[in-house]
């Protein structure tokens, strides 16, 4: 690989690391809700600080979202590849990464609470 190409790769890596650090260290809003979207509709919103298990209907049988200690993950997923479950636990402090279950057409993502609580 040429020197110029190494420089471009190094710059791309630096930009990625900076973006990840920004997302992790940016000032947090006072309140968050976790939203679950099926196709184009938000079908559920829940408080990540309240422990619970929610069932979500999807295109191939749905899945459950377990919430515990401010974190959430997918369990009992009825999909062929189980990527959504393999994504593991997500939390406010970790990142803004959404959990996606493409066979079920379900996306679980964090969003700021409209009332800030």
């Amino acid at each position: 690989m040429k020197k110029k190409e190494w420089i471009i790769i190094a710059v791309l890596a630096a930009v990625s690391i900076a973006a990840i650090l920004y997302m992790r260290l940016r000032p947090k809003s006072s309140g968050y809700v976790v939203a679950v979207q099926h196709r184009m509709t938000i079908v559920k919103e829940f408080d990540p600080m309240v422990d619970a298990i929610y069932h979500i209907d999807g295109d191939v049988g749905g899945l459950d979202v377990e919430v515990k200690d401010g974190r959430w993950h997918v369990i009992n997923e009825h999909c062929p590849n189980h990527i959504c479950a393999q994504m593991g636990w997500m939390g406010v402090e970790d990142n803004l990464m959404p959990i996606t279950c493409l066979p079920n057409n379900v996306v679980i993502f964090l969003q700021e609470s409209p009332d800030g609580n």
Binding site: M1, K2, E5, I9, A13, S16, I17, Q37, N95
Partner: protein, 170 residues
């Protein structure tokens, strides 16, 4: 001339078959790393097609991989198909442009891998109308660099053991 044409056709068919097999193998037996990042083994066949035969042949291998791979998995024209198509469209474009600029195979592989991830995320963001999906991009971009290097190194090793298509004129 006829023999040369037949050899090219055979190479194209074989590389397409390798791409489809690697694609299926990866989706069935090798799950995503950290839940989101895929190795992109089928890109080895695409890189070989690009370096051995040319741009048009690489696009054919990539299209065959997406269409036949999704047909075999039963996901044709579903969300998975369109997401794969978005990744392949962007990665093919980037790899063709880099090949025209005479970039190294390793750099082409890394940039192809990055473009593939970006294409997929853009399609997911569009399909679900969730711009927040792009939050995953820095992770994918960073992860695509080592996977791109691994795929590029593998393709380079394979290239050394494949007889070039066009024989030198005596």
């Amino acid at each position: 001339m006829g023999i040369e044409r037949n050899r090219r056709f055979t190479y194209l068919a074989m590389l397409s078959a390798v791409a489809i097999a690697l694609n299926l193998l990866e989706s069935i037996y090798i799950g995503p790393i950290f839940g989101v990042l895929r190795l992109g083994l089928a890109n080895i066949a695409a890189l070989l097609a690009l370096k051995l035969m040319g741009r048009k042949e690489m696009v054919i291998v990539n299209v065959m991989r997406v269409v036949i791979g999704n047909l075999l998995r039963g996901t044709i024209f579903g969300s998975t198909f369109w997401i794969s198509s978005g990744g392949v469209l962007l990665s093919s474009t980037v790899m063709v442009l880099l090949n025209m600029a005479d970039a190294s195979i390793l750099f082409t592989s890394i940039c192809g891998s990055i473009a593939h991830s970006m294409g997929q995320v853009l399609i997911v963001s569009f399909l679900y109308k969730q711009i927040g999906m792009t939050a995953i991009l820095p992770y994918l971009l960073l992860g695509s660099i080592p996977t791109g290097i691994a795929i590029g190194v593998t393709a380079n090793l394979v290239l050394k053991h494949i007889r070039p298509l066009t024989e030198k004129k005596r």
